[in-house]
Amino acid sequence: MRGTRVMKEILNYDIHDIVRFQIIRNRKRDWLRDLNLPFSYFEVEKEIAKPDITLNIGKFTPSNQNCYLVDHKYYIKENYFYCQDEEGRARWEVEIYGFEDGDTAINFDGRVFGFHQIFIPELLPQNLFLMPLIGYKLSKKQCFLVHSAAIAKDGQAYLLAGRGGAFKTALALDFVRQKGFQFLGDDGVIICQDNVLSFPISLGLVSYKLRYPVKGGLEGFFDRIRAIRYLRKGVDYDSMPSAQQSRLKAIFFMVKTNKQIIDKAEVDLKEAVSKLAKAIKLEEVISPCPMVMPAGSGRYLKYMLAYSFVFPNSQIAKYWSDLEERLAHVLTAIPVYEIKIPQDYTPAVFNEVWRCLEQAL
């Protein structure tokens, strides 16, 4: 036992008055606050009395007694999950109370080997556990965190949905840059009744990309240095033309193909719902931190499966089929299109998508 007491810092977040959460961490200086704390857009000053989720980062003593043991490593009891795990350059230990019901507390202790431990030490637990749990909590309140970009104009929102690599971010930013749209999110937005609520993640990085358009993210070394310098200056969130909420007007699915054509087709709503639900599920499969963990190494779906193995009648086990059904109730009478786009993002691609969107208006 060390004699010095570590000062804890409590960060409070409020997502559109629907879900509130706290991050409790050892007080430390942030090198890249916008990247390390990607939910900063939702941060509030006022201490939240009864958070839906609490994420404690740091050493903890697990209460994994009396548990079912699955695959030698997952400790499971009702509403509780614990395991030690590793992947790529990351290694962690996590305990989740309220895994399926009630207020949720996540205890996380882990580290990443390499630079990321210095620059973004707390990103991993937020992407691995906070993100899926925020989606889960939202769904309990009939709101759905869908994996999609969204832009808005005159109070009308357009979803640019699609899987990773389908140029959602590039398209959304081009709409903001060139056509005067407002930004709602580039990786996720919340569908709540017939509204789309903003869900901007790492808004500073988004505003950097808006200012310095780069193809396909931050690939070059100098891009990264420039981005770090930009983010280090401090980000003024108000400078982003962003909207809080807008009415859902249309959904466009972007699918990348290795054909050289751009092609638009109408999609029926049932298929769209299935795709949106599957994309939410697939978010728990893909890497939560591509710089640290390899492709396809997401864990949350596996953890949910392990829990469902022990409790096949639990809410967790029924979550995905329920989600699709409930999403179907919310999405009615919305036009949906699928746009096939080629592998290279060019101005021609943007113009085509813009034309499709104009036709839909």
Binding site: G164, K256, N258, S274, A295, L305
Partner: protein
Amino acid sequence: MNRAKASENYYNIHDIVTFGIVDKSNFLNGVFYDFDRRYENFKFPPLNKTDFTVYLGDFIPSNQDCYILEDNYYIKEDYFYCAGDSYKWGRWKFELLGLDKGDCTIHISNNPPAAMVISGILIDFLIHYVLSEKGYPLIHASCLSLDNRAYVFASRGGGGKTVIALELVEKGFTFLGDNFTIVHNGQALSFLSPLNIFTYNLAPVVKRNLAGKDKLLLSLKQLVYSVTLGYVKIFTQVNIKQVLPQRLGDRSKVDSVFLLIPKEKFSVEKIDKEELLDHLVINQKLDFYPFTKYILEYSYMFPESNLGAHWDKHKENLRKNLSGDISYYRVETPQSYTKQVFDEILSVIKK
């Protein structure tokens, strides 16, 4: 010149599923591939037509005109190409053609560490898939029989499938499988995979019949395990026919299915069939986890395809084939088995 002469092997499982493995890979991979031992008991003379063929070695994917997801998965109708996946130090890519329509081919290219896991990750799933499509669903379970009545023990890793199987063999039961069991029309069919043994699950019945070479390998692997602090855990595979000659069965009518979950104390309760089916399907999804995720990717584009709808169909197949008068139990066990646990299980069987 990167290739030696290709080796071709053919396998036949109960005349239900046949497959070939053509190894055009390099020497080092050849040392680590485990399909020789893994499917030894299904070995068959060369066949002209098989349900699927596995090609190991570098390949050029025919991924033209595909949808591209996550910049990693190339998908078109009845075609799936994964440009890269990994498990610990292992890396592989693969291309799967014709699974939906039958006449299936899979090309796999991997690095040597992945050679040890590739059969479990990719080939086992294909066996499971084709068996299920033909109405012979596979479950992740061990199976023993006595007086032509089969007792099936399903569990996740660490649940005690193998321990129970070997203990019951000592008690005079016949062995049908310790990792997978095929069910069809109320019967359990054997699936003789090698025993995966490590120093901690070395049952006396196995130890007696172990060759000197295997004993040496076992100690070596224990050493590697200790040196890497548990990161590298290589099981020794021994052929069940060598260890348990004359104690092997082919098929029996299913009497009971037990679902084993380790907790603290022994307890047993009867459950209904639907609940057991849920457990079994999730067990299978976890067991084939990388493939569970490939299916999800494919079904994002083709939800109505056979592959896209696989888990629902598998459940339906299980429902249909676990037919007749079968008892279903959910058994909680202590985390390490004691004599008392075996006695309790035996007393349920004797009822």
